[in-house]
């Protein structure tokens, strides 16, 4: 798997972005950029090539689901793999995310191994 791929981590909590960054580094990913909400994430996606998105669900301004929908609606970035992070796996949320085109989701709290496994499965599926 390409450990050099550029991963965008989106979360309104600074600490959670740092935690995810640390977990990604533990798995060998070094090429990480951050955004504090969906609006900032869309700006990042317009300005640089992103290979993978890890986004929190609950965020002010634009939720993770709204960001996912915006990504899938933009032909330039629509194919970018999207992993949703949630504090709870509510069935209606999962269904909504799947309908909107999420590749997978991960429930907090999670370990570096679980995160790496989710990323690997998505990348493998996408070929």
């Amino acid at each position: 798997m390409d450990k050099n791929m550029k991963i965008l981590v989106v979360d309104d909590f600074t600490t959670m972005r740092k935690v995810v960054r640390n977990l990604l580094k533990q798995s060998g990913y070094e090429n990480i950029v951050e955004a504090e909400d969906g609006v900032s994430a869309l700006r990042v996606l317009k300005s640089q090539k992103i290979d993978f998105i890890i986004s929190d669900w609950n965020m002010p301004n634009m939720t993770g689901l709204e960001l996912l929908k915006a990504v899938r609606a933009d032909s330039e970035v629509a194919q970018t793999p999207f992993l949703m992070v949630t504090a709870e796996a509510l069935q209606e949320n999962v269904v909504a995310a799947v309908k909107a085109g999420v590749n997978n989701y991960i429930v907090k709290p999670f370990t570096a191994e679980v995160l790496n496994d989710k990323i690997a499965k998505i990348v493998e599926k996408m070929g």
Binding site: K18, N58, E88, A89, V107, K108, P109, F110
Partner: protein, 154 residues
């Protein structure tokens, strides 16, 4: 508050802190809290609604939260800065999420609001229902913290 509410919050707390902060919190004996004084120097509070309503608060001593946040971030944090407040909010959010999932397994579907964080010596925790609340005391090597739950069914 019913005893059946205690275990999900106890388990949720241990699970989140073990996984995200690599600490093993040791629970003490739960007790009924009197008054609004917080147990620690910084607290995260989150409102709960649905099959049961009320609020959950987590209150950490300074030494305890500095160790937890240092472990979470992989860097030594020595002062009560914005990262610590931010982390307390996120920890409260995560513990609420795991605990509510455990409560949902028992048929109690509960939603949560956005957590708020209060800090400073001698601050208060005012629960949505006004109290009384149950305290589940915890300790790690560096210090103590408390899970403070005030919840009523229906």
């Amino acid at each position: 508050m019913e005893v059946k509410f205690i275990n999900p919050f106890l388990e949720g707390t241990v699970s989140v802190l073990k996984t995200m902060a690599f600490v093993e919190p040791h629970p003490g004996v739960p007790y009924l809290k009197k008054g609004n004084a917080a147990h620690g120097d910084i607290s995260g509070i989150i409102g709960l609604t649905g099959a049961a309503r009320g609020s959950l608060a987590l209150s950490f001593s300074e030494a305890c939260i500095l160790k937890i946040v240092s472990n979470m971030l992989g860097e030594e944090i020595t002062t009560m800065n914005d990262d610590v407040s931010d982390a307390v909010g996120e920890i409260t959010n995560m513990i609420s999420g795991v605990s509510r999932k455990l409560l949902a397994n028992e048929g109690l579907n509960i939603s949560a609001a956005i957590p708020t964080v209060v800090s400073g010596r001698n601050h208060s925790i005012v629960h949505v229902l006004g109290g009384p609340s149950i305290i589940i005391p915890f300790s790690i090597a560096e210090g103590s913290f408390a899970v403070d739950v005030c919840l009523a069914e229906g």
